[in-house]
Amino acid sequence: MIHSLFLINHTGDIFLEKHWKSVISRGVCDYFLEVKEKAVEPENVPPVLQTPHHYLISIYRDKLFFLSVIQTEVPPLFVIEFLHRVADTFQDYFGECSESIIKDNVVTVYELLEEMLDNGFPLATESNILKEMIKPPTILRSVVNTLTGSSNVGDKLPTGQLSNIPWRRAAVKYTNNEAYFDVIEEIDAILDKSGMTVFAEIQGVIEACTRLSGMPDLTLSFMNPRLLDDVSFHPCVRFKRWESERVLSFIPPDGNFTLMTYHVSSQNLVAIPVYVKQNISFFETGSCGRLDITIGPKQTMGKMVEGLMVTVHMPKAVLSVNLTASQGNYTYDLATKVLVWDIGKLNPQKPPNLRGTLSVQSGAPRPEENPALDIKLKIQQLAISGLKVNRLDMYGEKYKPFKGVKYMTKAGKFQVRT
């Protein structure tokens, strides 16, 4: 299956390689680098490439390419999913997944890769098991390690791998037992010029953080499970219970994990929390244009809209902008032609406005297209779909855990066409 892995940074340097079968020269990456050079954006590099002797499957995450070399038929998603799992694991271990952090922890990274694949086939990908074998670095541990010469490889053997609940490590003990659930919903929407909704849907995810001793068996139920249209679960969730009773019943992994993701049925009308009035125009004569954007509250369910941000990818011809914002700050990156207007909290009384002129490269034809606006926003304490957790029960353990549920709504891929 997966033959080798190369980590490549965005400038095209190969800074880590790992082979699970015989060694493949890093020259094989040249094919990839060639394509990468041609692509304007790194995202535009096709994930699957064919070379005379190998196939290259890559993902782009956090400005890094994870490039795997394949020799024979394998489901491409299998590899892609695995590479993302590797990136997730790095993120989980080191807090971020960047070139410098990987280089700093190259030994741990190598140990992780060694455990995650055997002969190119995934072996241990559950974070709980990996952490049992290879402890994530912490400042304290690295100090202790240098002093005592002890290691970050667990001296225990990974018993979790043998268990029937492979996602949970054994013998968990906490003095404070707590379980937190974040219900996070994202609005994916496309609004057209006039503000009409072309397409809108809600994606939800329940992120959990459980620190519970022993083998707790949790049951999470919703007030209105009918809202959920399509779901996918962490392997710990008992699907049959969901099918029959619409409750989530599971023995959680230890620590942070994504319990489920869901999609709210499209029959329900999606409340769009803000309206956007915009006018971006370029004049036929004279090299300039006008921009005027106003954002106001629409259906916010009485909650405060925060973290409001508008991103505009300007046409290449726009040289500079001269704008004034009634609230917040804006920046315009000359190289990438990206205008970012960071608004912050939305003031319902005085809707924030950004207006001014755009100067266009003289002589260039009038930009044909009006750029789309990407909106980011956050609303605390609200799940826009109306989903509510009813209760959380725990069986199998005697103690009373501290339980918490938090709701949040965010803009996902929220785009306004102009």
């Binding site: 390689e17 038929e73 695995f82 410098s100 140990e111 029937n164 008992r238 290449k316 044909e368 066409r417």
Partner: protein
């Protein structure tokens, strides 16, 4: 590579981005000396005694390896440390070793003995890791050693080691393909493994080593289907892909006879939505189906159905690869009506990473060509955002185009209009092509599209115009006569358009339709002749063409022009153009020499050309298995296994039948978990087993099926089968609620067994002495009933109970009113089903399957069954099966174990793994005389082999601290075919930890383990009511556990309660004044802690269970057990 900076690197692992050594040749000058020196330093560290220094050195070396630098000269120094005690050093040495062993074969051999030692380690994880590294060392010399190690590991007791063995198989295969035959043997063996841990890995090995040996799958097919949901995600992908291929070779095309399906047959076959009331109708339907079967319509093989049903829940997996695997399985295997379910899941994947989107969209694009309707509801999910990467945009566009039809075309076109304004010009070009395709596919919008495209001709962007021209050309070709004004318009454009392809297209168009624009075309040729020398080659060719065509139609005006053009072309630099000019001149200009061809010149040039078909690049891609790399590349990748076509006639389905016992899950190998309910888990399951310990007379009844992975599935399977007995067309069963609640099912089963047990007791009284044929015959019979009734039981509990009773004729019916009714029904059914006495092939198979999946636990040894009235339900093949089975098992005659006949026995060693020796054990509940603190375990050995077994004894007992074992006396000789029993004592220390030991014969050793249910960890004591109350008073607070419960309907009398509680735990009844309360008492065997149980009943089955016990763990577990026993 500068030595100093590299050094720093390794030390801290930190290096700045721009370091010069990356990707540079290590052999550049000046480096060797310093390199050498540095390595000396590392060697010194590796040779030191301090682990910390070694670790430091290894870390630096691994960092070098990670960056692709050569560290091979350190090999001797590193390999010495392979036996280092420090686990991290060891691991890093492994990493290094695996990387360089291939280059340094001789030295690598030094390490082998360490691994060989590791292979014998008592710790399974060490054995596994030793095998893993050993098999990763690519040194040909050790192939025999690897082979040996793999073989040994494949029969290891630990499933984890077996998994590692499965991983090692492809490694060895790639090292030495000659070993294939031997490896296939190992694969075959591991395929039979029943644990989820192994399943994925072994199928992986199968796919890499011998994907063509599809016959190896037959016997394991059902097991794989049933285990699937509990296999780890990566294994699931591999198994599903393999099973797709398998199914294509073994089953019939479900869409073969569509019309028939539509006629409501569909409901019966695939529906499964309706449940309860289906019960009766179902039978009728099935009878119908049976008759239909004779007319040879399509009937889905139940195994085919099993696969579809068991993969469906995996659509909810978080792993995109799993979802895709299921989706392709459904696409390739499911009846058309059912494929739709995958759409939603695939659309969900579109919200994932862009790489995932890319792959999914490719597959969706292929699917939409064949099954457009499936994705239509999700049209808007394919709308494009300006921030999508280009390749995603293009794919989405493809899907949108495929989805376009008369009803949604207007929305799609409106959407396309926004896309045309995009800044991404490649995407705009793709959009224009998409519009063109929509226009060709949907006649109604052709004019609209054409007009739209013509408007685009005035676009400022040349690319857009060019692309439009090309597309318009294609469209016009379909109906040129209507659109001469468009052609004129385009002729005008030729002055402005610079893109060669577009110019060429326009010229071609004018040439082709010069009759429609007679005035303009010569003029265009004139302009072109003027600029001929500056044109691109494709344009020049088209100019020549245009000239030729005009010459043929309008030679008066264009003769000179043509000659001029041809003359220019004659001296062109490009030989193609020169050739073309010569050729055309010969053809069209009449000279003396010109042959017959010139007469036909007009026909040649102005032949009617078929309009181009604009079709999707994804057309016919589905001959590649979807989701595969080959599909994505549209080219066969190495190692790709073709997806076979459906067979004309179904191959013999009986090949998948399995001998019943092979599906018996042992108590000792509880590694695999059924369903998504898995985590509910071990505990419960074990408890469940405990609950009905005295239910079976003897060995056959091994609780494990309860726990077996196939549990609920088997129930499902049996549902389908229940129908088949009557009709021969089982599979249409429900995947409905009842099937899905594995737990309930189990409960019901238990309950039923309780009943059965009662009956058996009743029955036994008269015949007890002899343990007679008759009784066992009855049992046999009963078993058959149960087999049948079980499926129904899930529909309606009561009925099943009744039925069973009614059928066991000899038994007293202590039962309810409805019984007779049930009996009548039953008889009717019998009558109905008699006609198809000659069972269709599938019949036999299904019945067999039924047995294998479901009834193992009911299987009790019985002397040869006699044909009872019931058998009329069963096909003859089933009877023979049963005969065979009972014969094979009858060796384990119950005689010796008779005293404890009420106890449930567990399997310790299966006769297959034991090479003929089978061993069962039960908790005899007798005091163990040598040591009162031990639990007596009665073990029954049966020698099924043809040779005698000698020196049976146990060895190498591994226990948790505090536990003790009193071994049974050695059995010197167990002749072939004989059975003997022995008693051993185990002090479990009041825990449910397993006692592991080896069972040795004169030839072999077997790893076995005994794990007690909590109820067996106590012995009954006698207390008076007052004593009981007093003791209870002292065990309050934390020591008291109270649970409310609702008693099962059949468990509302005192007798049943007592019986169920005592079945679940070895307790004795305490007399009690109130009839609303039952009390029980016992002491744990080791610590003699009191265990008091009270069941207080209230109205309507409400009850309260109280357990008082000093040992809270025991108490908690006991509560669960008893609760389970009472609520089922």
């Amino acid at each position: 590579m500068s030595a100093s900076s590299a050094f720093n690197d390794e030390k801290g692992g930190s290096s700045s981005v721009g370091e010069p050594e990356y990707g540079h040749d290590p052999a550049s000058g000046g480096i060797f000396s310093s390199d050498y020196k540095r390595h000396d330093d590392l060697k010194e560290m590796l040779d030191s005694n301090k682990d910390s220094l070694k670790l430091e050195a290894m870390k630096r070396i691994v960092a070098m390896v990670a960056r692709g630098k050569n560290a091979s000269d350190l090999f001797p120094a590193v390999v010495k440390n392979v036996a280092c005690k420090n686990i991290e050093v060891k691991k890093l040495v492994y990493v290094y070793l695996v990387r360089y062993a291939e280059e340094q074969q001789d030295l690598a051999l030094l390490s082998i003995s360490t691994f060989q030692r590791g292979l014998k380690d008592p710790n399974q994880l060490i054995r596994a890791s030793a095998l893993r590294v050993l098999s990763s060392i690519r040194v040909t010399i050790i192939v025999p050693i690897m082979m040996l190690a793999i073989k040994e590991a494949a029969s290891d007791m630990s499933p984890y080691v077996r998994k590692t063995a499965a991983h090692a198989i492809p490694k060895l295969y790639s090292l030495d393909p000659e070993q294939k035959d031997q490896l296939i043997e190992v694969i075959e063996k591991l395929l039979a493994d029943k644990t989820t841990l192994v399943a994925g890995s072994v199928v992986m090995a199968f796919e890499e080593v011998c994907p063509e040996r599809i016959d190896l799958i037959h016997k394991n097919y059902r097991k794989l289907c049933n285990l699937l949901i509990d296999v780890e995600e990566w294994g699931q992908v591999v198994i599903i892909n393999m099973l797709t291929r398998y199914a294509r070779t073994q089953f019939l095309n479900p869409n073969i006879n569509e019309s028939l399906l539509e006629e409501g047959g569909e409901k019966t076959f695939y529906g499964s939505e309706e449940d309860e009331d289906e019960d009766d109708e179902d039978k009728d339907k099935k009878a119908e189906v049976a008759t239909m079967a004779k007319r040879k319509p399509y009937v889905m093989d139940p195994d085919h159905r099993l696969l579809l049903r068991n993969t469906k829940p995996l659509l909810q997996s978080r792993n995109a690869a799993v979802v895709m695997a299921v989706a392709q399985l459904y696409f390739h295997l499911a009846p058309k009506a059912e494929v739709g379910v995958i759409a939603k899941a695939l659309v969900r994947l579109l919200r994932s990473h862009s790489e995932v989107q890319y792959v999914v969209l490719q597959n969706v694009a292929t699917m939409t060509i064949k099954r457009r309707g499936m994705f239509e509801p999700y049209l808007k999910s394919f709308y494009i955002r300006s921030t999508d990467p280009t390749q995603i945009k293009v794919l989405k566009l493809e899907v949108l185009t495929n989805l376009a039809n008369e009803t949604n075309i207007s929305t799609i076109l409106r959407e396309f209009q926004t896309y045309i304004k995009s800044m991404d010009k490649d995407f705009v070009a793709a959009t224009i092509q998409a519009i063109g395709r929509c226009a060709t596919n949907i006649g109604e919008v052709r004019d609209t599209c054409l007009n739209g495209l013509v408007q685009l001709l005035s676009n400022r962007d040349e690319l857009v115009v060019a692309e439009s021209v090309v597309v318009i050309k294609k469209l016009l070709q379909m109906q040129p006569e209507k659109h001469s004004d468009i052609i004129k318009h385009m002729a005008k454009l030729i002055d402005n358009i610079q893109v060669p392809m577009a110019r060429a297209s326009i010229l071609w168009l004018i040439g082709e339709y010069c009759e429609h624009v007679p005035k303009i075309s010569p003029d265009v040729l004139r302009k072109m002749a003027k600029s001929f020398t500056n044109e691109e080659d494709i344009v020049k060719l088209q100019i020549i063409n245009l000239a030729a065509k005009l010459y043929l139609t309008n030679s008066k005006q264009t003769k000179l022009l043509t000659q001029y053009v041809l003359n220019l072309a004659k001296y062109d630099q490009n030989y193609d153009i020169r050739d073309r000019a010569r050729f055309i001149r010969q053809l069209i200009v009449p000279t003396e020499k010109s042959g017959a061809l010139s007469k036909y010149a007009k026909k040649l040039f102005l032949a009617l050309k078929p309009a181009p078909v604009l079709e999707s690049p994804f057309k016919d891609r589905d001959h590649f298995q979807l989701g595969s790399l080959s599909h994505l590349l549209n080219a066969k990748a190495g190692g790709y296994q073709e997806l076979p076509d459906w067979p004309e006639a179904a191959p013999d389905p009986s090949v998948r039948n399995v001998e019943v016992f092979t599906l018996l899950e042992r108590v000792t190998t509880l590694t695999s978990v059924p369903e998504w309910t898995k985590c509910s888990s071990r505990e419960k399951r074990k408890e469940k087993k405990v609950e009905k310990p005295f239910y079976s007379d003897s060995e056959g009844e091994s609780g494990p099926t309860e726990s077996a992975d196939s549990e609920s599935d088997s129930a499902n399977g049996s549902e389908s089968v229940s129908g088949s007995e009557v009709s021969g067309s089982g599979s249409e069963s429900e995947e409905s609620e009842e099937g899905s609640e594995s737990e309930e099912e189990e409960e019901e089963e238990d309950e039923e067994k309780d009943k059965k047990k009662k009956k058996k007791e009743l029955k036994k009284k008269p015949v007890q002495e002899s343990e007679s044929e008759q009784s066992s015959e009855e049992e046999e019979e009963e078993r058959k009933h149960e087999r049948k009734s079980k499926p129904r039981k899930s529909d309606s509990e009561t009925e099943s109970g009744d039925e069973e009773e009614s059928e066991s004729e000899s038994s007293q019916s202590e039962s309810d009113e409805s019984e007779s009714e049930a009996e009548v029904k039953k008889k009717k059914k019998a009558a109905q089903s008699k006609p198809p006495a000659k069972p269709v092939k599938t019949d036999g198979k299904k019945e067999k399957k039924e047995m294998s999946l479901l009834d193992l636990d009911d299987f009790e040894p019985a002397p040869s069954p006699q044909v009872t009235p019931v058998n009329s339900f069963l096909s003859s093949s089933l009877v023979t099966d049963l005969e065979g089975l009972s014969l094979s098992d009858s060796v384990l005659s119950p005689a010796t174990i008779a005293p404890s006949s009420a106890l449930k026995s567990y399997e310790l060693l299966h006769r297959i793994t034991g090479e003929g020796l089978s061993v069962e054990y039960c908790f005899s509940r007798q005091p163990f005389s040598p040591d009162a603190n031990m639990v007596a375990v009665q073990i029954q050995f049966t020698n099924n082999a043809t040779s005698d077994t000698k020196n049976l004894h146990m060895e190498d007992v591994k226990l948790q601290s505090g536990m003790r074992v009193k071994e049974f006396p050695e059995i010197e000789l167990l002749p072939a075919g004989e059975t003997t029993t022995a008693v051993m004592g185990i002090d479990f220390c009041d825990s449910t930890q397993a006692a592991n030991f080896q069972l040795c014969t004169h030839t072999r050793k077997f790893f076995v383990s005994i794990q007690p249910p909590v109820g067996e960890l106590m012995r009954p004591i006698f207390l008076t009511e007052n004593e009981f109350k007093k003791e209870q008073g002292q065990l309050m607070g934390m020591n008291e556990i109270t649970e409310r419960l609702t008693l099962d309907v059949k468990c509302r009398n005192e007798h049943t309660i007592v019986q169920r509680v005592t079945t679940a735990a070895n307790l004795s009844r305490v007399p009690c004044g109130s009839d609303k309360e039952c009390r029980f008492a016992g002491r744990t065997v080791t610590s003699s802690s009191l265990v008091l149980v009270t069941v207080a009943t209230k109205e309507e089955g409400a009850a309260q269970l109280t357990v008082n016990c000093e040992k809270m763990v025991i108490g908690t577990m006991l509560v669960k057990d008893i609760l389970q026993a009472l609520t089922q």
